[in-house]
Point group: C2
Chain length 443, copies 2
């Protein structure tokens, strides 16, 4: 005889509606496999529209989320409202009422995740959040459980589908950034104000959660250094291609042998043969490097109602089974991470300069690199046609031709590269310092 | 105060030795995170050599595996002997003695896995086996837990590193099959008798385990249709490249809407843009298609002491935590799968024919395809130089030139394609029927 677990769902947008439908479709099969009868008892919404009503029995919909999290007949709460408040307060109330909680809320977890973990442990219930990172891709559970014994040294993720879609269009179709962004907005992948995606805030929140669970230390969104993709040009994409790379927006979490941790988001040049290079369109992937296990990658749909609901459902089954066994899985306790500043990080760099095409310029530029202990791995020079720089040439440098210099450096400290760029931009012969991209995957 | 869990390890080859070392390195960190002290209490070996003795405290090594699985001080058994006996008997004894068991034994699980699952449930302990499929790649736990609510329709895996290494060398370096095999043997990837790898037996065992856990029905190794890669030629690889494909050995488990299941291993043409196409060298990857979650892929090291030991260790921590909570995770119960015969499967096919180069041949060949309701998607004809077929030409067909016809069919039933090939091989104008490869990833 299957045991019934009553579920309260907070929020019925894309993910909530997909979850309710998925539970309807899959409840019998789940019961067959697990002996658990999952039942949607209440769904809290902000307004009761007709479309939602047809999905649910009358009496299931409510406008009062508080009554759901305190209802003694409800065993488990799914939070898919998003944002900090009222999600935080509702989750805290649910945990304090002894209910297991499953959430997809990356913003909340990236800011006060470890506090919520402690509240769940205090209450002796599960707080699960597979869907908060990379949507439908199972990555939280593998990191927390499969790899709990592993010495994880680095995690690199393509965890924002919108920016990966934009970069894929720029790479495969030769589109400009603005055209690719407009297409992403037309398809509903990007918001009207795309800042959270394109400037790396969304990926940064996910990076904080990844670092926390991969390394067992507390990292919050504010700890994450981030740069977005709005400065990536077709020139960068084209040079990347010539050199055997693709440009991807990566969330990178690293732990060094001294125990310090660095977490950052920025566009990077990824070698074509790296598994992350072939992750295209709006797909997500998380690449994990461990001392014993070697390289792993987890790939799939990072967003969308159905994939996200699938991840939520996996957590719901797990939490429901634990409730009935009277057990729960602790997320552990977390000391504050000892963060290594981005200035001290080391990687090869791609540097794109426009210079005046005259004798001695390369020597001057190379000298600046050398003065800052940044060693050059390769250089390409391209003479720019007059037309390309027409305006600038007319206004400022009527008597000079122009050239583009593309450098790939050997591994260098960020601070040294910054100092190099600062000094280069002050040279008369350097007309502009274009994109600077870190190169990954070569070690 | 951490609770100590005493571990008995059966077997101390590559994986066993790596596990003992990994536990030594990681025990403190695991204790910090989980409050569990994992201790290797006994290691059963067939002979006590010096190399092993240095790794372990005196008194830990024993030649008597039975004494380990019945030792009341031991809580958890790790079985890394491999093969059916004595592994089966030792695992049964351990389970009956109330010990949790972690195994990496694909052969055992592919033959009597569901019987062992029942014994574990009877005893109320865990039987975990992440390392049995795709080595260090977390795939068993994601399938069993993260995707427990998902309607999984198909799983396609590159689950044999040896054959993937051979096919990669044939593709990237243009090597013949025999040269690539010899290199794999030299590197220790392939056995002196490579049959288990190259004829698909190893991948077949893993496919049976994958089908069992993905679909919740019992599939054993003997249920798996398999073809190997020993017949794949450089010609096939080259045509695949021209047509935009790579050749991979795939383990494919499918469930159809009528509830039937098909499980098979064979070389297949995979489109370049498919995520499985970029899985190179000895890496493994498992591609999962679900109704709600969409496409997922799990990528990593499928073999080797350290990656496999890492997967074993994840299971050990999980099982140890469950022991102390007095709970366990059931693998569920499994009805026998209702298998769909391979003859009834449908896919596009690549067919490589050598024919005499004379008027009317193509019409005759195309007529045979048509008679069997196999519709042609594309055809390429290549005139073969005299030299290529010199021997055959001299012996059998002195007056004819020769040509190669490469067909890609539309999706067709296996039985119809077999009948087509049978009739084609009887045509006078067809000098040989070469490789026949299924094409995947186009739907």
């Amino acid at each position: 005889m299957a045991k019934t677990v009553n579920i309260g769902v907070l929020g019925c947008g894309n993910v909530g509606a997909a979850l309710v439908e998925l539970l309807r479709l899959r409840a019998d099969e789940i019961e067959l496999r697990t002996d658990l009868r999952l039942q949607v008892a209440k769904v809290a919404v902000r307004s009761t529209s007709k479309e939602r009503a047809v999905l649910l029995d009358p009496g299931v919909l409510t406008l009062d989320a508080h009554s759901v999290v305190t209802d003694p007949d409800i065993d488990l709460i799914v939070e898919v409202i998003g944002g900090i408040e009222p999600a935080r307060e509702l989750i805290s109330l649910a945990l304090a009422s002894g209910k297991a909680v499953v959430t997809a809320n990356k913003e909340l977890l990236a800011n006060i995740g470890t506090e919520l973990f402690a509240e769940a442990d205090e209450a002796g219930v599960d707080l699960l959040f597979e869907a908060a990172v990379a949507g439908g891709v199972p990555i939280v559970r593998p990191l927390r459980e499969s790899l709990v014994g592993e010495d994880i040294t680095r995690v690199m993720g393509i965890v924002n589908g919108t920016t990966n879609y934009i970069l894929t269009k720029m790479t495969d179709e030769g589109w400009a950034y603005s055209a690719a962004l407009a297409e992403a907005q037309g398809l509903g992948y990007a918001e009207r104000d795309p800042t959270a995606d394109v400037e790396g805030f969304d990926a940064g929140a996910k990076a904080a959660i990844i670092a926390t669970i991969a390394f067992g230390v507390r990292v919050v969104a504010g700890d994450v250094y981030h740069e977005g993709i709005s400065g990536v040009t077709q020139t960068d994409i084209e040079f990347a291609r010539r050199l055997g790379y693709v440009v991807k927006l990566l969330a990178i979490a690293e732990r060094f042998s001294d125990g310090t941790v660095a977490v950052r988001v920025h566009p990077a040049m990824v070698p074509n043969e790296h598994p992350l290079a072939s992750v295209r369109d709006s797909f997500n992937a998380v690449f994990v490097q461990g001392a014993a296990v070697g390289d792993l990658m987890f790939y799939g749909r990072g967003a969308g109602g159905n994939p996200t609901a699938s991840a939520v459902l996996g957590d719901v089954v797990d939490a429901a089974a634990n409730l009935l066994k009277g057990t729960h899985a602790s997320n552990g306790s977390f000391a504050k991470a000892n963060l290594r500043p981005v200035d001290e990080l080391v990687s090869p760099f791609y540097v794109n300069l426009e210079v005046s095409d005259e004798p001695g310029v390369l020597a001057a530029v190379a000298g600046v690199f050398g003065d800052h202990r940044v060693s050059i791995h390769s250089m390409e020079q391209e003479v720019l046609e007059e037309g390309v720089l027409e305006e600038r040439v007319q206004e400022q440098q009527p008597n000079r031709g122009a050239a583009r210099l593309i450098f790939i450096t050997h591994a260098a400290r960020e601070a040294d590269v910054r100092a190099t760029l600062h000094e280069l931009s002050a040279l008369d012969s350097v007309t502009s310092v274009g994109s600077v991209l870190r190169v990954i995957g070569t070690d």
